[in-house]
Amino acid sequence: MSIFAKVNPSKKNVKRLARKATLQVAQDDSKIIIRPPKGWTLINFRDLWLYRELVYFMTLRNLQVRYKQSVLGILWAVLRPFLTMVVFSIFFGGFAKIPTDNSIPYPIFTYAAILPFDLFSKAITDTSNSLVANSHMITKVYFPRIILPLSSVLGTLLDFFIGFLVLIGMMFFYHITPSLNAVWAIPVYLLLAMVSALGMGLWLSALNVLYRDINYIAPFINQLWMYITPTAYSSTLVSDKWQILYSLNPMKAVVDGFRWCLLGGPPPTSTAWISVAVAVVLLVSGLFYFSRMERTFADMV
């Protein structure tokens, strides 16, 4: 039977949805309506739900493929943040003597920041290329296009968890006990990082279909973003009057949050809400732009 058979919305609903979205599933025997798109629409969440298993399979594929035919394989997930931490510790912590918060040892201070930032930057790199790299799928089959950037972002989670195990090991080594808040705070901050990455990724991936410049811009964005995120230094180095402006970077709140609940850094202030708001704006605007551009992907890619 058809995948659309389960859906049985009311007539009123159908009218409302048909007005809003370009493709709709109506009440009788799995009918698909095709019309030209009009104006700004939001992602078709119903279709996304119907294709939820594809999100799982695409994420799985991204994970399975990533380290195929590399000698160190999944070890790269650990090596990248770990080596960054070593270099940062030698130069910024050792020679430049950059102070940490509440005398947290520099290596773990920076590692707790590199870990979520690495997730963020990898998500941006993978996502921005996700549509172009899968153009053969886009030009041949219908499926909600957002699955491509979405599964790219989800695919970075595995690396994060493996890196997180190293962080736990380091906490044992330095005898640091996390606060109980970590149980809820880590997932929340992780979500914040992923929402920001997805928001950026939606913009960049859709733009990449039109302008291949994005391939060159994305690594550059990542590099700059790392400097404006307190990975190598403490966010308290930035003076109070600049904190509001500084919080426009959602990754600042993520890094501060990780340091707070895991290492006993300073607790988050109300400026964290600015970061949350920016992340939400990024995501929602990204969704709108993506669905606006989605209909031309097959013609443009």
């Binding site: 058809s2 995948i3 659309f4 370009t22 493709l23 025997d29 799995s30 009918k31 698909i32 309506i33 095709i34 019309r35 030209p36 798109p37 294709y51 298993e53 594809l54 799982y56 399979f57 695409m58 799985l60 594929r61 399975q64 493929v65 195929k68 035919q69 899968n134 053969h136 799928m137 886009i138 030009t139 041949k140 089959v141 219908y142 499926f143 279909v209 039109l210 302008y211 291949r212 410049d213 209909r295 097959a298 013609d299 443009m300 890619v301």
Partner: protein, 422 residues
């Protein structure tokens, strides 16, 4: 209303010139383009509005269980129509209603990843085509055995032979069991055997009462598999009717402008210096170069070439080859001894060698013309075994009262007599 599978009303698809032709742009180009159009807008008061309608005013209905053929030459809009129905691209105007899941054999292997194993690819590919996981689980064994790759389920598909790869990809697509199947033979890849399999699957689907849209350049396949067909030309439906009439209409209008191959400089090797091939053409009985011939009419194959020097003992000839690579015949312009005597030395100049393929000679199907120019035991000046491809349509050919596939590449009208034994 209940038995309609597809209803299309006034569907149109517009492309902006440049949007489709230029594959992608860079920011710099867009910025400079916008500046110049703005400038033009300011200076001339006109705005560049160059658009192409790939499809316009398309209206038709397909009933459940119907097999509808779609013919038209390259660029007529067939593929755009299929893409709209498959929801790959969206129409610019109009409305369409589709009852049921659309599957197509043009998306064979979409999303296959070379690094993943056969098993992993089945699930991924199935999900991309819109199958549920439990549906794939249920059909898994069937898919694997149909593809005949049981032993290699845990091998990355990059280690597969191209045949295994195609079989697996096709098997997944074939088990999708859509209510509506779209077959674009023009885009179908693979060898003759694989294409035969595609067509076989298609008629199975039709027999099960599901709807099929069949796009093909192969008129005999259209005649064999469909009862009704539409002819698309320049983005519009030109004709709709019984397949036989639609094919007649299509052939009579000579939409097919193939039937010619002009050699480019980069196709030629330096060995061809004295003999420079220009073109090979196949013309129907009315003298038009065409890709599709009727077997009931004679056709002419001509080779146009230039000789830079006088050549002794030159013979210019053709091969006829089936698409499977079996040679049907070889023939040279100086086969006849008298003509060979007369053209013992061919002087430098511009020539065309022509030969006639008699009527009632070739069977229906697709054929390849090869070209050879040589002097026996002296030198081969030019050789191309894939110069030109053409189709033969066998409507009204000997034995067409039986709508079956005749074996063999030729279908001559032989002299028969039926003697009664005493």
């Amino acid at each position: 209303m209940g038995d309609i599978a597809i209803r299309i009303e006034e569907i149109g698809k517009m492309y902006r010139i440049g949007g489709q032709v230029v594959k992608y742009r860079t920011l710099r180009e867009t910025i400079s383009e916008n500046l110049s159009t703005t400038f033009r807008h300011i200076t001339t008061g006109t705005r560049a509005k160059e658009v192409i309608w790939a499809l316009r005013h398309i209206d038709f209905e397909v009933h459940k269980g119907q097999v509808l053929g779609i013919v038209g030459r390259n660029g007529a809009g067939k593929s755009t129509l299929l893409k709209i129905l498959a929801r790959v691209t969206q129409p610019s105007e109009g409305f369409a209603e589709i009852h049921g899941r659309v599957g197509s054999l043009l998306e064979v292997g979409t999303g296959f990843h070379p690094e993943l194993t056969g098993r992993e690819n089945i699930f991924l590919n199935g999900a991309i085509l819109g199958m549920k996981k439990n549906e794939i689980d249920r059909k898994f064994d069937e898919i694997v055995s149909f593809a005949e790759v049981e032993k290699f389920m845990d091998t990355p598909v990059k280690r597969y032979s191209s045949g295994m790869y195609l079989r697996l990809a096709f098997s997944v697509a074939a088990h999708l069991e859509p209510e509506i199947l779209v077959v674009d033979e023009v885009l179908a890849v693979g060898d003759a055997e694989f294409q035969r399999k595609c067509l076989g699957k298609m008629s199975d689907v039709a027999k099960e009462g599901r709807t099929v849209l069949f796009v093909s350049h192969n008129m005999s396949a259209i005649l064999r598999l469909t009862e009704e067909a539409i002819v698309i030309e320049k983005g519009k439906i030109d004709y709709r009717g019984a397949s036989k009439d639609a094919v007649d209409y299509y052939l009579a209008h000579d939409y097919d402008k193939g039937g010619e191959h002009i050699w480019r400089l980069d196709e030629l090797t330096s060995a061809a210096s004295e003999f420079k091939p220009i073109a090979v053409r196949i013309r129907n009985s009315r003298g038009l170069a065409t890709e599709t011939l009727r077997s009931t009419e004679p056709a002419t194959i001509e080779v146009e070439y230039q000789l830079k020097k006088d050549i002794q003992g030159l013979r210019v000839g053709i091969y006829l080859i089936t698409t499977r690579g079996e040679f049907i015949l070889t023939s040279f312009d100086t086969d006849e001894p008298l003509r060979y005597e007369k053209h013992a030395i061919r002087n430098a100049g511009h020539y065309t060698s022509k030969c006639v393929i008699p009527k009632d000679f070739l069977n229906e199907g697709r054929f390849v013309v090869g070209v050879n120019a040589s002097s026996y035991k002296i030198k081969r000046y030019f050789h191309d075994e894939q110069a030109l491809v053409f189709n033969v349509n066998a409507t009204n050919a000997p034995g067409m009262q039986w709508p079956e596939n005749r074996l063999g590449p030729i279908r001559p009208m032989l002299e028969w007599c039926i003697e009664e034994a005493h």
